[in-house]
Amino acid sequence: MLHVESLTKLFAPQSGCQNVSFKCKKGEIHGILGRNGSGKTTLFRCLLGLIPYDEGVVRLVSSLPEIRQFGYLPEERSVISDLRVYQMIEFFASLKQMSQKEIRDERDFWLHKLECKHLMYKRLRECSKGNQQKVQLICSLIHRPDVLILDEPLTGLDVSNVQLFKQIISDYAHSDKIVLLSSHQYEEIEPLCDNLMVLNDSKVILQGKLSDIKRSHPTKTVSISEDAHMIYALQKGVIDIRQEGNTTKYICKAESDAINIALLALRCRDGRTIKVESLTLKDLVGEQP
């Protein structure tokens, strides 16, 4: 179990992270969300011991040696471009003090799992951005850490690779590991996360199990396609309206308000799609696409 209590690291007021507390059990994926500069990377760096924190306690119950407890995939691309794929993987594995046999077995396993065995002898500069990201993911989990920290792992991936990464992340967490994940692609990580924490201006503004958060938020949304004129904008209980392509999303104060709008829309449906649902992660975080 990973237990973080009142962790604070401030570079300046509202720069860094303040009073962050959370607990993660084995097998859970913990989403850490927030806008750019909200303090996610600082939090990760503190957990990894890359920077000292001003206050707080970080506790990890682990049977692994200290050097192998954490795995990290940074937000920015971090590859040694003149190396071949297998050399880069072996280098980072050797830093984790893995034996040659362990390295070979794990390398082959993950290259196969991430469908990139054919890249083994290619230089990293010859690999696409997505493939480089796959290699980086392998480097971060080849030693099978208890806590895998993934900072924006889905950035720059195509649809099929996003699915592959999601599958790998989910499988890894289910092998009794903890995954801390940050991403701006809220729709993609929403089905993955068991818990989430939203940071804004270095402070935690929302935290808990995703299902609990959704339950505790009476706010519902009604999505109506081909509603360019936003004709239900003045209906009772509408607190916000968002236009996503040709679909208008009405955010309503209560579920009854959402149902009213949906019923009105159903009367003149004309083949349009009408959807009443709880707030999505993106709505909760309040981030515009």
Binding site: F11, A12, R45, L47, G49, P52, R59, S94, L95, S140
Partner: protein, 397 residues
């Protein structure tokens, strides 16, 4: 740390460019070791001595003064150069360059003088000697020539290590700019990273020296088996690179008379050089942590390299025993960084007392220790990109 060092060494030593360099140096050593054989077949005039013919009376008188690039040929038809002596003149036939012409000219003048003197009565010879020869008594207090060979070796190592220091500093810059440093620091502490960078330069230099030495030793052994170096020693003598003709490598090496005192001096020079270069390397690494791009690296390392060149030229200019014993050279031999060249210069060309040696060693060592300690903290604070606002440390979790 072991993984970091071995990875870095592998990258430096095992790449296509390095292999090309090894191949080139191996080939070069082969060519150098057999240069006399190659030149004999490609440009014999450069290697083989010119055959010269003169009458037997002339040879008896001046034969022993024949320079190393001439050999006597008794058959005039086979000789490259012929000196024909007649009643009132000496006729020289053959293709001679300016240097050869000068040599032959001196030989003939010498012979002519000897033969003329022999024909004169003794009283006249004495008068001529008084007129022609001044009696000079030398009371020269000039220095003995200093040991330039030692200085050449030291400065070669100096530049070699400087270039490796630059390479290590660039490695830090590369790791920073590619963000790899962030991942590395999740596995090793900043301290391990810091010390590994300092060690890498040394290991690289030692490994490269070993690799190239292997090539040299291989060709040396081949040459020993071939003719024990007789040919190449002969060629060096003919080109006047050696003043005495040696018949084997063994003979030449034993003539060098390398004793324990020379070995101790070389070892002490190496210690000063090592302490100084470690300090320079440390400064380079510490500067590198502030660099965020290759362009910045060039802008900062260039002037630094120039500074090291200035130290080198200073060491050359202040290389007289007067300067090294009393002048600036004396004070520089105790000054950190500068002592790596000035103390070896003193050791090689003047006498240094034990207390002076210990004092200089202590100053150099203590400075290095202080810089290492301060540098460790500096490195930790500035290694990660954008870390100026905080102190980065590896902590226990």
């Amino acid at each position: 740390m072991k993984a970091l060092i071995s990875f870095s060494l592998m990258r430096r030593l095992n790449n296509p460019v390095s292999w090309m360099l090894y191949g080139f140096s191996f080939l070069l050593f082969g060519v150098l070791m057999f240069s006399d054989v190659l030149l004999t077949s490609l440009a014999p005039s450069l290697v083989l001595p010119r055959s010269i013919h003169m009458n037997s009376e002339m040879f008896d008188r001046i034969g022993e003064y024949l320079p190393s690039n001439f050999v006597f040929q008794s058959d005039p038809l086979l000789a490259d150069i012929k000196i024909q002596v007649s009643m009132d003149e000496y006729k020289v036939v053959g293709h001679l360059n300016a240097v050869e012409q000068q040599w032959v000219d001196q030989m003939i003048h010498g012979y002519h003088r000897l033969s003329m003197v022999e024909k004169m009565p003794d009283s006249m010879v004495s008068i001529i000697d008084d007129v022609m020869m001044a009696n000079i008594v030398w009371d020269n207090e000039a220095d003995e020539p200093s040991d330039h060979a030692g200085f050449i070796v030291i400065t070669s190592i100096y530049f070699m290590l400087l270039s490796f220091s630059t390479a290590v500093a660039n490695e830090v810059v590369n790791e920073k700019t590619s963000n790899v440093i962030e991942i590395i620091l999740t596995s090793v502490s900043h301290k391990e990273h810091y010390y590994s960078k300092l060690l890498i330069g040394w290991f690289t230099m030692l490994s490269q020296m070993m690799i190239h030495s292997c090539g040299f030793i291989f060709w040396f052994m081949v040459r020993v088996v071939f003719d024990d170096g007789k040919g190449i020693m002969g060629m060096m003598y003919r080109w006047q690179w050696l003043s005495v003709r040696f018949l084997s490598f063994d003979e030449w090496i034993s003539s060098l008379n390398i004793g324990m005192s020379q070995i101790s001096i070389i070892m002490l020079c190496a210690v000063f050089l090592m302490l100084g270069i470690l300090l320079v390397q440390l400064l380079m690494v510490l500067i590198s942590v502030h660099i965020n791009s290759i362009e910045e690296a060039a802008a900062i390392q260039g002037p630094f390299y120039l500074g090291m060149l200035v130290i080198y030229y200073l060491a050359i200019f202040i290389n007289s025993s007067e300067q090294l014993n009393q002048g600036w050279g004396y004070y520089f031999s105790y000054t950190p960084v500068l002592s790596m060249l000035f103390m070896p210069s003193r050791l090689l060309s003047t006498t240094v007392t034990l207390s002076e040696l210990i004092l200089a060693l202590m100053i150099a060592s203590v400075t290095l220790m202080i810089c290492l300690k301060i540098g460790e903290d500096h490195y930790r604070k500035n290694l990660l990109k954008g870390s100026s606002k905080s102190t980065f440390v590896k902590k226990e979790i």
